[in-house]
Subunit: 389 residues, 4 copies
């Protein structure tokens, strides 16, 4: 019988941004209960974080290894069902692998790993496991993103010709990593972030969004990355020319030095019959531009009968009640929880519940990051994404 | 020691809109746990609602009376701390009174009661009780609303001269109540909604928002209400001229027949030095208009150091991650939970945690509704709000 | 045979805002030539103004009387065809009357006169004259305003229920008239502006726009006017409750103390089937809101085949080339020029060319102003507009 | 003494889009008078066009050669001062050269010529002539574009790092040239348009705007052009990676198959201290995004004292009166007319009056077009713009 899914968390201690996000997203729908955690590499910090979260001190652990092994020993009616991994990139692989190998489902922050090699190894672990592995490419959780995908899939805009996706931020316009700012510190550190800062952190979101909505795959790309802030060790900006498998073309740009920008993730797709536009900072609006009639403005709302069922499934409120970042993020957790419940009960998993990013998305994302860096190192030569897959 | 606050719910069974909203709002921050409920006047519906919420069947009750009295008998470490009341207007008073009289804190949907008389009686019960009574005028929970209030309070815009607040909706443009639509049914029924539909349901939100942000009180008003849909029993539209206690003037309009509108709650305030504008469908933006320099766009974000502490307290995410309706709603629950924890621990309640709408707001709201109806019945004559208080 | 229409101007000398506007509007389409003027009550200023406009010094006059009488003596192939009156309100009537009585067509700035009495007298002069009298309620010249009117007229939005029109400005937030600022000086002076500042200057635009688009007439109104700036002699703000002849209701507000606002003339109209929204600061957009399908965004463009012919007639450019205030203003002059050419050639005047505001609009506007002031003087009592007509 | 400048026109007969635009732009400020024209290669069409424009039939010519030579024979007080060339690209060079060689100033539509070679030859003619040659890169005529340029020049946004400029249109999404549509016909014809359709027509506007505002020069570029509509002979879409002479990077995209787009020319520039954003379809708004304080919204208006003098010089109206495409276009003509008057009077030309695009801009534009096509032909290899200059 369906019940609240029990979650353990790796990382996300005090001062973490994304840990709190994952917890709120998991809380929202009352489908998941946080029962344990290894919130920090410092046992003391982990403990105080657990206390602030009202956890049983017995289940606040000093390391992810400890958590996984101790939880495994608990009774089936008590131990966690899944692990949420919210650490920096270099700390995704090990806990994910250990969790899967010990029978726990995994929700993991993106990019999926420190390197493509790790990602591919993890993919094998996942595939062997019969367990769920969900990747929090949260932007695909927005209802209007799902509706856009549906419109493309059902041919409403005709064959896709052009895709322009962008993700400008301005928060790394100065050398923020020189302060103790936690987010900047690890993202600009090659030992923690991997081979890319900007493209790894947000470029990969843009890539994922473009492929998710269009249903197309990037075939080749040419990238020009930059590091504008002196002394920074990784890229903080880049533009990528894109060619898709159906002949469509496009571009992707991501920047962390776009002064004054917040998170202006935006995608525009033009087909033979219409264009689509979606902007993350106005997420409940989908603009549909027709060749021969006025533009239409679609707006999130469970009351609108004309939406696809996957859109409705991702919507909680009637129109006019803005849904935001956490609601989109929560759609991943909600679907994961429903899927786990179905598995536990030996029920078929509904197609709608399967709608969350998976290990394949993670591998493609890592391939994208490595291909982009490689192209840029060759002065924006064209590279085939397939060469990394 | 702080712990999760235990909540029981009255109303909010299957098919309810606002019940689900309250639950998500209560869930979001992990400060509250739903432990019991009387979700419907039908015991069977209540039961199936409770099951879908993973509740212990023992604590799913057939009536609010049963819930309150049975929970009272449970041990202090188990019984609910507070009751959330999410029924139609005519069913607010009785459970609220009974809960308070039996020692339970209350969160209640708005308007606070079926009539001003009930509201005043409830106010006495609250005042006698030493318990918390929070009213979900949720729009005041938005960070940019709090910042607007702060800007007025600290004199940034100078003495307020003009306030224009409006709340157009279009969902009652046709006689929806003739179908079985649950929301329309009770809101247009004088036996459930009270003496007003439009002004009671959304006009009172507009009134509350205007007084909250400006810190002013409406002194007199002249209202012209209408019922545009034939056969409807209560108002579905109205405009109100306002005069405030400091000499400011303004207007309020609310409509449920504004075809094609969602929830366009909007407020504009002009002072001697600047103007403010906030729109619920773009809730993370606050526009500040100066006499002699370019307009400024304030945006929600915990990273922006220049915001007031009450704004920061109501914000969960860095800029660029849109917060929405549920997050604003959740700010009421979060503050209530923190306040209850402080009371339980005999700690002083932080000023920030006290920032939620209270019984006084409810009484003013009911006075507003009754004054508006009275003025309209006299062909929009001026009436003094004080005559109702 | 059609030729350029020859125009003389009264007022509009150096430092005038609206004089320059009228000249650019008249120039734009190459249908009108400025040939003479009495630009100022100071003969010297008039002369230097005429020089800057490259006029023949012989035809730069010291007074409107001189201009009208001297031009009359010129040959038919030389003398002006029409007079453009761009003086403050108290100087509209005399030159308009004299021009008409001497056989010259007139284009006059709004409001049409200093008082309703003058307006009515002028109406008689116009009616006797068989000459054109055009009033520059320029906002009705915008293509999307004409399309909105067309949509209402053809029943697209159903019976109109609610009209909300507003015109906030902030430029008189301080006592600007104490400086030498020319625009503020006469508008706040009862001897030049008439009985109202804000309602006369901009409230009357809002009234005209509402009646133009809806095709309805205001039947009764209740107005609450204010003077917020100490020592100011006329109103600088006001809100008016409206009731229309078809049973629709609404409100109008105009303000000159809405700090930081430019010219945010905005109208929203809700019918039984749809709503319309138009905003002067984004004039090429018309938003159409449906009950049961996504919002549509109509945009100005001669290429869009779906527009009404009066809309197309008011449009100069393909979509994407923003048309502005001057183009809308020029639509009045263009239609006037075409009408005069038709009259001169004894051709029938095309219905499209007749689409400009006329003396009747002016009389209604003055009645509106006087009714509003009267209602406000009686503490916002309802008054019937018919009592002034 | 200053007088109206007399203009002749080449091209722009009935059915022309841009001819009418040039005439309205020249009319607007009353500084220029159209006195003659060779409006079409068909003498009859030219005649009827001239008649509709109220021209003296004697001065409506059958060819540009006839016009230039006949006008030259007229007296100095009658003959045209300048020629406006509004023909398709392949017909710019010959009339421009002939006009200059016969002593007439020239205003010419863009791109300046059919080929870079022609452009360079024309540059020599201009340089020898001591006459004015103005190129209608009209988008640089907008006040907020000039303010943006000023802000960059004066260091307000710090060193420029990133420039993203784009110009999507959708009007060639289908094979419109197969109909008789005049605009599509010549633009897609290599014999009339030159080597590029999309990049030549609108990409060059984007390039000009980027260099104008930033004051930077494109140093190298890599371009990926496409022809999406089957059977079309020239590009209808393209994306270009940009590297600027100061080390800034960026991208430019232009498309004519971006279904549903009008003329969404948009530029974003990010410097070390702030970002700028301007969009042609909302041309009176300039968004300034700061690192550490709220975004500012600058709005066109002659009343705003804080603008640069070149901004004020390009502004006609107080704030809140939208200026549009024609006003921006007219700023070129106004400055040209003032410059010609100064030259005629042997006065120094004011620096402000010199603010219009010149032959150098035209040569750079042609070099850009040829470089882009060349890069694209080499599969988006990097090319140095200097190799074409």
């Amino acid at each position: 019988m369906a019940r609240k899914i029990r979650m353990g968390m790796v990382g996300g201690g005090e001062g973490s941004f994304i840990g709190a996000v994952h917890r709120m997203a998991a809380n929202l729908d009352g489908q998941i209960e946080l029962v344990c955690g290894a919130f920090s590499s410092s046992a003391e910090k982990s403990k105080s974080s657990g206390e602030a979260l009202f956890l049983d001190p017995e289940r606040v652990y000093g390391s992810f290894e400890e958590m996984i092994l101790k939880e495994k020993e608990l009774g089936e009616d008590k131990r966690m069902d899944m692990v949420s991994i919210v650490t920096p990139n270099h700390m995704h692989f090990a806990p994910a692998k250990l969790a899967l190998e010990n029978g726990f489902h995994v929700v993991c922050d993106k990019p999926v790993a420190f390197s493509l090699e790790q990602a591919k190894e993890l993919e094998q672990v996942v595939n062997k496991s019969n367990l769920i592995f969900a990747l929090t490419h949260n932007y695909t959780g927005y209802p209007m993103v799902k509706e856009a995908r549906h419109m493309v899939k059902t041919g409403k805009i005709g064959k896709v010709r052009k895709v322009v996706v962008e993700y400008p931020q301005g928060w790394l316009s100065t050398k923020l990593e020189d302060s103790k700012q936690k987010q900047a510190d690890w993202r600009t550190d090659p030992n923690k972030a991997g081979i890319s800062c900007c493209m790894g952190d947000i470029g990969s979101h843009a890539e994922n969004l473009a492929e998710y909505i269009t249903g197309l795959q990037i075939k080749e790309l040419a990238a020009d990355l930059s590091t504008f802030v002196e002394g920074r060790l990784l890229d903080d900006d880049g533009t990528v020319l894109l060619r898709f498998d159906n002949g469509a073309k496009g571009s992707l740009f991501a920047s962390q030095i776009a002064a004054g920008e917040e998170n202006e993730l935006k995608i525009r797709i033009w087909g033979e019959k219409a264009g689509l536009e979606w902007l993350q900072s106005d997420p409940n609006t989908l603009i549909v531009k027709w060749l021969d009639k006025p533009k239409e403005i679609y707006r999130t709302g469970i009351n609108y009968g004309y939406f696809a069922e996957e859109t409705a499934n991702a919507t909680r409120l009637p129109s006019g009640h803005p849904e935001g970042y956490l609601e989109a993020f929560a759609n991943i957790y909600k679907n994961v929880a429903k899927t786990i419940n179905a598995i536990n009960d030996n029920r078929d998993v509904s197609g709608l519940d399967k709608d969350y990013p998976k290990i394949e998305d993670g591998v493609r994302g890592m391939a994208f990051i490595e291909a982009v860096v490689s192209s840029s190192n060759q002065n924006a030569s064209w590279v085939q994404l397939a060469d990394w897959l």
